[in-house]
């Protein structure tokens, strides 16, 4: 084997120079030298650098991720595979995961977001599931920043362009704007799929001597070093370093889904893995490594889009819409028949063996021969130094404001404004099983489990301003809000996936944010019996030393046994009584009210008491099941009055509220205390609900009645729904216009 396989000929750099260029730290490179007992060649170094990148190895976060509860009655497969798998009864399973495509979306918004959606779908159908729902959690820079509009435009078009074409409904998501994302937008996409519980496919190669089949699109020079790129900070010159942009082909993805599911149904598949970040490298290394085997690939057989691709380029390419499967003995022809039917390129490119090595051949030469152990098991694991992150102290006092004006301001603010402009570009109804989507007036998206009375409820949540103010409480809150959103539609919350977006973990304060947010999330998951079954970490979201607000996005899935028991907040009727469930102490620290009305971003965020959260939520879910609660909305951003507006506006009927508490009106209207719900009940059942609540120890207060066409707070303010709706609907289309 030549020791300089495929290194660019003209340069005189040493392997150590290349190591640092590829993002390996000197001590990491030393480990490679020690393990190999020799210098790696260029291809081998490339393989190490991507496998040991933050993106593939989770080297900064891995030891903290272990704190998450990952098991539970309904968990079939937790983190570690391409996606998490939960049992939804009747022999069926739900498979889901969330993933980021932050850096690519900043560089090329349309393709970055599109390929993000494509990538997360592959993680799900790789395990045997048909994708049935998509979600996206988006964080953009402040509206006045010169890049924001273009990024929003491209990201939204890219998400729609890909998901719509593949034919999976995009049913929910969230969108924030903040100066903290000016230099790094966040694009987190989640995919949810359905499979038979006894037909789930895994990536570990089961035995030696099996054919390794490549299928999908051809390999080009796209995104080489994408995985290491996404593990680096941006700086002025990152424009120069950017890899060839990956372009998504949703049409190819659609064919790939059908071909993959057909191949699986044919019984030919022994193991399978999509080619995601670090493409052929990570897929082959992981499949062989997990199986405790070895693998040999003949790179000349790889379907190639461009002439003269080097081994290095093929191994590091992140060309999209590609899969790697290990077939059962002698089943190659089943594969070829299916790939031909769907018009996909395919080739047997290698074989599993017992060598414990990955061996790559190219043009008659062995260009890489590495033991698999060090690549995955000995990947660096860091206990990075961390300090308590900056935290906001409780506020001494909160300024007041005229409630009606404040409401108009909040409803028209970028974070609260209707996102119609955006989700009307997403196909939300394809597959004809959508029960609730972004347009519905529902705290979670809902899709039927095809052909049954069951439904999945899905949501994505994080409140970055809380996490910034207190990573631990904010981490708890993100999980609690997701749990609450599922509860509010009548679903049993089952499990979550997450996407941990942070700055540079080598800075102790950032590492502190990561550690404390994970602590908070883990505690909430434990207390709410809401395990983590999959997830993704995106670090180094910084530009010129400025990190994003810590943003641990939670994607959650719940189950309804009978979708006729679902509820939304669009079903309020005149005459119904509004009951506020949960206690309002008057939490206004880091609230939307303070930020939007007074320009203050300060104060301790609302406390999350998980036992209260659980008690209140279980109580509300029972009211939904017994059909007592006719409409339900959780209280989150902006507090009571914006939630009442949502309910009134989605239902087309006014609400008259009354503040009978000792709280000042602006506090009553806008406090963001947790574990609260606004529910509508028939007048006749109102006192029964209050009695039941008292019995269960759940704070409940009758606060108003539905009717008319205004939203009012008696004696304080009254505004027509039309005026409020206009304020809420106007901002985004005007901004994008």
């Amino acid at each position: 084997m030549s020791t300089t396989s495929s290194a660019p000929a003209q340069t005189q750099k040493s392997m150590a120079d290349y190591a640092s260029e590829f993002g390996l730290k000197p001590d990491e490179y030393q480990v490679i030298l020690d393990r190999l007992g020799r210098e790696p060649n260029y291809v081998e170094l490339g393989v190490f650098s991507v496998m040991w990148s933050e993106h593939c190895s989770y080297k900064s976060s891995r030891m903290h991720l272990r704190k998450f509860p990952v098991t539970g009655e309904r968990v079939i497969c937790g983190p570690g595979e391409n996606a998490g798998v939960i049992d939804i009864g009747d022999g069926q399973a739900c498979i889901f995961k969330m993933e980021s495509h932050n850096h690519p979306s900043y560089i090329e918004p349309y393709q970055g977001a599109a390929t993000g959606v494509g990538g997360i779908m592959r993680d799900v159908f790789t395990m045997g599931a048909r994708p049935v729902a998509l979600l996206n959690a988006l964080r953009f820079g402040e509206p006045s920043h010169p890049k924001t509009k273009r990024i929003v435009e491209g990201v939204v078009a890219g998400i729609g362009g890909y998901g719509n074409c593949v034919g999976v409904p995009t049913v929910a998501g969230e969108t924030n704007f903040h100066a903290g994302y000016n230099g790094n937008c966040l694009v987190n996409a989640m995919c949810v799929g359905l499979a038979d519980a006894d037909k789930i496919f895994y990536s570990a190669a089961p035995e030696p001597g099996l054919p390794v089949v490549y299928f999908g699109s051809k390999t080009g020079r796209d995104g080489i070093h994408g995985a290491t790129m996404s593990s680096a900070e941006f700086s002025e010159d990152s424009e120069e370093k950017r890899p060839t942009v990956q372009v998504g082909d949703p049409f190819a993805e659609k064919l790939l889904i059908e071909a993959t599911l057909e191949l699986m149904a044919s019984g030919a598949v022994a193991a399978i893995q999509d080619m995601g970040a670090a493409g052929l490298t990570s897929s082959s290394v992981e499949m062989a490594g997990k199986g405790g085997l070895g693998i040999t690939l003949d790179l000349d057989k790889v379907p190639q889009r461009e002439a003269n691709m080097s081994a290095y380029e093929m191994m590091l390419s992140e060309s999209q819409e590609r899969m790697l499967a290990i077939l059962k003995p002698g089943r190659e022809n089943d594969g070829y028949r299916i790939f031909e039917k769907w018009g996909l390129d395919a080739a047997v490119i290698g074989e599993t063996n017992t060598s414990g090595h990955i061996v790559l051949k190219h043009k008659g030469e062995v260009v890489c021969d590495l033991p698999l152990g060090p690549l995955s098991d000995d990947a660096p694991l860091y206990d990075r130094p961390w300090v308590e992150p900056d935290m906001e102290a409780p506020l001494a006092s909160v300024p007041s404001a005229p409630v009606g004006d404040a409401l108009l301001t909040i409803l028209a603010s970028p974070d609260m404004a209707s996102k119609r402009w955006l989700w009307e570009q997403y196909d939300r109804h394809v597959m004809a099983d959508t029960l609730a989507d972004s347009a519905t007036g529902s705290d979670a998206g809902m899709v039927r489990v095809h052909g049954t009375k069951k439904a999945l409820a899905v949501t994505s949540d994080c409140t970055p301003r809380y996490v910034k103010a207190n990573p631990y409480e904010g981490g708890k809150q993100a999980v609690a809000e997701a749990w609450r959103n599922l509860t509010a539609v009548g679903a049993d919350p089952i499990a979550i996936t997450d996407n941990l977006n942070f700055g540079n973990p080598e800075r102790p304060k950032i590492m502190g944010q990561i550690v404390r947010a994970i602590d908070g999330m883990a505690e909430a998951c434990r207390e709410l019996n809401f395990p983590v079954v999959s997830g993704n970490v995106s670090l180094y979201n910084e530009t010129n030393g400025v990190a994003i607000p810590p943003t641990p996005t939670v994607g959650a899935v719940g189950l309804l046994a009978d979708y006729d028991q679902r509820v939304g907040f669009h079903t309020l009727k005149a005459g119904q009584v509004l009951v506020l469930i949960g206690e309002t102490a008057g939490e206004l620290g880091s609230s939307l009210y303070l930020r939007e009305v007074h320009g203050i971003e300060a104060g301790a965020p609302p406390k999350v008491d998980l036992s209260v959260e659980k008690r209140n939520g279980d109580f509300v879910r029972d009211l939904i099941r017994s059909k007592t609660a006719k409409a339900v909305h959780d209280l989150s951003d902006g507090g009571l009055l914006p939630a009442a507006f949502d309910m009134a506006s989605a239902s087309g009927v006014g609400i008259e509220l009354k503040n009978s508490t000792a709280l000042e009106d602006h506090v009553f209207a806008f406090a963001e205390d947790q574990a609260r719900y606004l529910i509508a009940v028939d007048e006749a059942s109102a006192h029964l609900v209050l009695a039941k609540a008292a019995e269960a120890g759940v704070p409940a207060l009758t606060i108003g009645v539905a009717g008319g066409s205004d939203l009012s707070l008696t004696g304080v303010m009254s505004l027509s729904l039309d005026e409020l709706k206009t304020a809420n609907e106007r901002w985004l289309p005007e901004f994008m216009g």
Binding site: I107, E108, Y110, Q111, S217, G220, R221, D222, R242, T244, V245, V247, G248, D249, F251, A252, R305, E306, S319, Q320, G343
Partner: protein, 83 residues
């Protein structure tokens, strides 16, 4: 003056449309009596009228339009003709 701008994906960037059109043309070739085609690329073309009567100035102006708005230079390259 009249400007014509051609915009294509840069070499090396996957041209999904080109790939699909090539497949379709070659798929039909048999029945339609065409020979096979290769290297299909699909791009955009823009034509418009400019006030400027100076060719060099017009070219500079259209170049600036391409850089700022018409082309996405991360993945696309463009060619300008002014006449």
């Amino acid at each position: 003056m009249k400007a014509t701008v051609h915009i294509f994906l840069k070499a090396g960037v996957l041209d999904v449309q080109g790939k699909a059109v090539e497949g379709a043309l070659n798929g039909l070739a048999g029945t339609a009596g065409w020979s096979d085609v290769a290297n299909v690329r699909v791009g955009k073309v823009l034509e418009f009228d400019l006030k400027s009567t100076d060719k060099a100035a017009a070219e500079a102006e259209v170049k600036s339009m391409c850089e700022k708005l018409l082309a996405n230079t991360v993945i696309e390259s463009y060619r300008i003709e002014v006449a």
